[in-house]
């Protein structure tokens, strides 16, 4: 077996037994990236020199009997939305194409402290806005299972690099499904933790009340390993939770006897592909065989999730992205105004008023040229929805819906321990297929936005393939801070199936 096919847990064993060195291991992933990434495009930057230097340092420390962190020598791919000191951190945007933050995100610092090898930065939809990674300002990422298809998004690079065996572990972020949906499309695991479980300090904000970073891997065991490193209270993030971190790996082996698994059957009828629906049915049946009791539950306000999400997230985004004004950080338009035939005609905001002051003109041009269309669309949506006279109709109403959705989950978790359903209504679609139809793209988030609106943990686990061999994932929801239960169920499922050990042919 190739080193790159092994899980992180297996690789830790090889490193401990000196079956391989961290440098050899890092080198084999770098080689794999070099061979495959021209077709996948999972990475925005690869830190070959830094990765090999860290690996060599870890090998020396191991040889000297020094202390080693829990991820010592394991490459981790990080979504390009986190600040790393001196590391180009682009958010997939032209706006931040040359941004080298002066500080480390807490998550990045924790990975470093755990002796992970930070191998590179993964591609994403610009500012995490999108579900296909087609909105990257640099290049799209392709699904390793079919390079004509999208990997999902916005953490498409992280999901694709796992499926392509370019890294054993990856970090994504999830605002409305951006970890789970690409995990489902690429046949890997993606866990969105409880809001506040993982620090957002240094995570470039899209929608602050919804954003949550989380681990991605091919097995539940590896996911638990990575979550254990990144979870925990952070005094630099006022919204991070002061809840103790569980030993996520310890509980994995416990059987599921007596688990009450809620089935939201109403969720996966309309608009869900038949292959997806039947894969979820089979997964639920398997859980019953594993000792779970299936209970039908209802989430009455589920259908309003998308509408509420696509008001709240753009509102927060419109404010979070105001700082990219051409003055302080990021792209600044050139001094000479560029008007007339040069500007794209379908580009909203490109046409300025003739009497703009030089300052307004600089704002307008920097943002027009620095942001992509989807970002501009959401900034305008949010600005509109927060405006005087519209705020009650949109933002305030969306907050009310959000509360109702949270109450639905609270009620459901009175009766069951976990909920099961599909992660996505469909498998991966073709590149370009939905990019002209934002609404169709948004509807793909139907099953994932609920966990963000309610702040709950949720996981996507590979559970099948459609007729074209494209992966399908089921999704589990748990009550707040029950990541342990999600991982245990996922691990038990993976112990009885082999979907997670299948991979695409790339070479």
């Amino acid at each position: 077996m190739e080193l790159t096919d092994a899980t992180a847990t297996e690789l830790l064993g090889k490193l401990a037994s000196r079956a391989c060195s961290a440098v050899e291991l890092t080198r084999s992933f770098l080689d794999r990236i070099a061979r495959t990434d021209s077709s996948v495009g999972a990475f925005l930057s690869i830190d070959e020199r830094g990765a090999l230097a860290s690996a060599a340092a870890i090998d020396r420390r191991r040889a000297a009997g020094g202390p080693l962190g829990p991820l010592a020598g394991i490459p981790v791919a990080v979504k390009d939305v986190f600040c790393g000191r001196g590391v180009r951190s682009t958010c997939g945007s032209r706006m931040l194409a040359d941004f080298h933050p002066p500080y480390d995100a807490t998550l990045v610092a924790r990975l470093r402290a755990a002796d992970a090898i930070l191998i590179g930065r993964t591609n994403m939809d610009e500012f995490a806005m999108g579900s296909s990674t087609e909105n990257s300002a640099f290049h799209p990422t392709r699904n390793p299972w079919d390079i004509g298809r999208v990997p999902g998004g916005s953490s498409g690079g992280s999901a694709a690099c796992l499926a392509a065996r370019q890294a054993p572990l990856a970090i994504g972020t999830d605002t409305g499904g951006s970890i789970r949906q690409p995990a489902a499309f690429c046949g890997v695991i993606g866990l969105k933790p409880t809001y506040g479980r993982v620090s957002r300090h240094g995570l470039v904000a899209f929608a602050s009340s919804l954003d949550q970073a989380g681990p991605m891997a091919r097995t539940a065991e590896d996911t638990a390993l990575l979550l254990g490193v990144i979870a925990g209270h952070d005094p630099s993030d006022s919204t991070s939770a002061r809840v103790p971190v569980s030993g996520y790996r310890q509980a994995l082996g416990e059987p599921l006897n007596g688990l009450r698994l809620g089935v939201v059957r109403g969720q996966w009828t309309e608009g869900v592909e038949r292959a997806v629906a039947s894969a979820i049915e089979r997964a639920a049946d398997l859980f019953r065989e594993l000792g779970a009791e299936l209970v039908d539950v209802d989430l009455p306000h589920h259908a309003y999730g998308i509408a509420a999400y696509y008001v709240i997230a753009p509102c927060e985004a419109s404010s979070n992205l105001a700082r990219y004004d051409g003055i302080h950080v990021g792209y600044r338009a050139a001094a000479a105004p560029r008007r007339g035939p040069g500007a794209a005609e379908d580009d909203p905001g490109a046409a300025g008023d003739a009497d703009d002051s030089p300052l307004i003109d600089l704002y307008r041009r920097s943002r027009t040229e620095g942001f992509g269309l989807e970002v501009k669309r959401r900034v305008m949506l949010g600005t509109f929805a927060l405006s005087a006279g519209y705020q009650d109709r949109y933002y305030v109403k969306a907050l009310r819906v959000r509360r109702l959705i949270r109450e639905d989950y609270d009620a459901a978790f009175q009766r069951v321990d976990l909920l099961i359903g599909p992660t996505t209504p469909t498998t991966a679609y073709r590149i370009g297929e939905r990019s002209a139809d934002p609404l169709a793209m948004y509807l793909g988030d139907l099953f994932t936005v609920g966990a963000n609106l309610a702040g709950l943990p949720a996981i996507s686990v590979p559970c099948g393939a459609d007729g074209a061999g494209l992966p399908i994932g089921f999704q589990l929801h748990a009550p707040p801070f029950q990541e342990e239960s999600l991982l245990r169920a996922a691990h038990q499922y993976q112990s009885a199936t082999d979907w997670h050990s299948r991979g695409p042919e790339l070479e």
């Binding site: 009340s209 919204t239 404010s319």
Partner: protein, 493 residues
């Protein structure tokens, strides 16, 4: 009835910088005067990914102010984003408080119209915390249009205190500001230094005109004008006076009212002593407030409010009242002492209590003590003379050991050297002059100055001054009034 057919309506918005060591949402040094952009970090620079963490001390000071202004403190307070674009605002929004401010419906009592009589109550609409913006500096000389931004100030804690439009004159505006500043310095909330920008005032001014000059007739409101750029309380007073006259003239000329004309912002030009219309701000007035998702709401339990209230220092108004009630001081004396600060009041009370003569203690405090403090521009905390030593000196005057005028010199010496009254007197050669020795000296002077004696007897009583002068030269400790009395007796006019 007013001589003019209108009533002046003023509301004041005061921003004060809180006396915290660090900024409101990061740990950068909040003090004034560092080289530009040296007191910044990812949070106050608004760098991507940086998150605010509330400074608990700033909240504590704000709570103290809200309670001291008799405000209602809600049990839950939240932060909101005020969104607008400006180069000195690096995040593109200011973290402030919109619909759940720290306190509302407070009040501040200020002195009544003529300095006596019942105080005027100015209602406080709201008190809220927010972060300050940076400073833009524009250089538009000689065709250059450079703008520079200093973000040292960005993120420093500001408390905004908004009055209801209860102020009825320029003088009253100044009295309100004076009293507010006094209160805030007593609370150790702010140093209220207008030069360094730690206290800023905007005034909203308009007139309620009664065209038929009858108190019961119809009222016409002139358009509200917000005045900015006033850099002293005096400037506030002058700007309001100017604006009142300007608005009345404008109303007479155009008839514009609040209903027909929008609110306007005018800047005070201190040199020309006029208000000038300001350029329309390059921003929309729709701030799109919404709850700050990066910060948790602050829950304020009743017990915390009670604890802050229990630890509250005595407020200036209460001290004034106590100085009158317990120590018999008149309003002017009490006010003067209160304005010197908490330590000065404590010093006064110590002297008054030990001496048993508050009026005399107050005189000494207002004249001699205040004079040396002013001469040396120092606070009473650095005065080398303890209250007990001052009392000892005053007792020695009572016992005739030295005169009041000599006592002033001794006090000066005590201040300079830090010595006790008795040591200072010894060093200056001051001792009480024995009655018989004084009489012998006077007899000698009368005997040896027949011409002066003759002049006095002839009715030129002022001639006796020369004898007093000679006595002082012969013995500096001789009490001039005693010398005068004895000499008159001896000459026997």
């Amino acid at each position: 009835m007013n001589a003019v057919p209108y009533e002046i309506v003023v509301g004041l918005e005061v921003h004060v910088q809180l006396l915290t060591r660090t900024k409101l949402f990061c740990r950068c040094d909040a003090s004034f005067g560092a080289p530009p952009n040296t007191r910044t970090c990812p949070v106050c620079l608004g760098l991507p990914g940086a998150l605010p963490v509330m400074n608990g001390r700033a909240f504590e000071l704000a709570l103290r102010t809200g309670i001291a202004l008799d405000g209602e403190i809600p049990d839950r307070m939240k932060w909101d984003r005020k969104n607008y674009f400006y180069p000195d605002l690096p995040k593109g929004y200011q973290i402030s408080q919109f619909d759940l401010p720290l306190a509302r419906n407070g009040r501040l009592a200020i002195e009544g119209e003529h300095g006596d009589g019942p105080p005027r109550i100015i209602r406080i609409q709201r008190v809220h915390l927010e972060e300050d913006a940076g400073k833009s500096m524009h250089d538009e000389h000689e065709g250059r249009r450079d703008s520079r931004i200093d973000l040292n100030r960005a993120g420093t804690p500001l408390l905004e205190i908004v009055s209801e439009p209860d102020i009825r004159s320029a003088r009253e505006a100044k009295a309100y500001l004076t009293e507010l500043k006094l209160l805030l310095t007593y609370l150790d909330v702010s140093d209220c230094n207008m030069q360094e920008g730690s206290l800023r005032v905007d005034a909203n001014v308009n007139l309620h005109v009664r065209p038929d000059a009858s108190p019961h007739g119809s009222v016409i409101e002139t358009p509200i004008v917000e005045i900015k750029n006033m850099n002293s309380f005096r400037a506030v007073e002058r700007a309001i006076e100017y604006e009142v006259a300007r608005q009345y003239d404008e109303w007479t000329a155009t008839g514009a009212t609040r209903a027909t004309a929008p609110k306007q912002t005018r800047g005070w030009d201190d040199r020309e002593e006029v208000t000038l219309a300001m350029r329309r701000k390059e921003e929309s007035s729709d701030y799109r407030y919404f709850p700050e998702p990066d910060l948790l709401p602050v829950v304020v339990p009743r017990s915390r409010i009670d604890a802050v209230a229990a630890e509250m220092v005595e407020r200036p108004a209460a001290i004034r009242e106590r100085l009158g009630r317990e120590w018999g001081l008149d309003a002017a004396a009490a006010d003067l002492i209160v304005h010197q600060g908490r330590a000065f009041v404590a010093y006064f009370v110590d002297v008054a209590r030990e001496l048993g003569d508050p009026r005399r203690a107050a005189n000494w405090m207002q004249q001699d003590v205040l004079r040396v403090l002013n001469e040396r521009s120092m606070g009473i905390g650095r005065l080398a003379v303890a209250p007990g030593e001052l009392v000892d000196l005053l007792r020695r005057v009572d016992r005739g050991e030295l005169t009041r005028s000599r006592a002033k010199d001794v006090f000066q010496r005590m201040v300079e050297t830090g010595r006790s009254a008795v040591d200072a007197m010894r060093a200056m050669g001051i001792e009480s002059v024995d009655r018989s020795a004084l009489e012998a000296l006077c007899r000698e002077l009368v005997d040896s100055n027949p011409r002066i004696v003759a002049d006095v007897k002839a009715g030129k009583s002022q001639a006796i001054g020369a004898l007093v002068g000679q006595a002082k030269r012969r013995n500096p400790n001789a009490d001039p009034s005693e010398v005068l009395r004895i000499c008159i007796e001896l000459i026997g006019t």
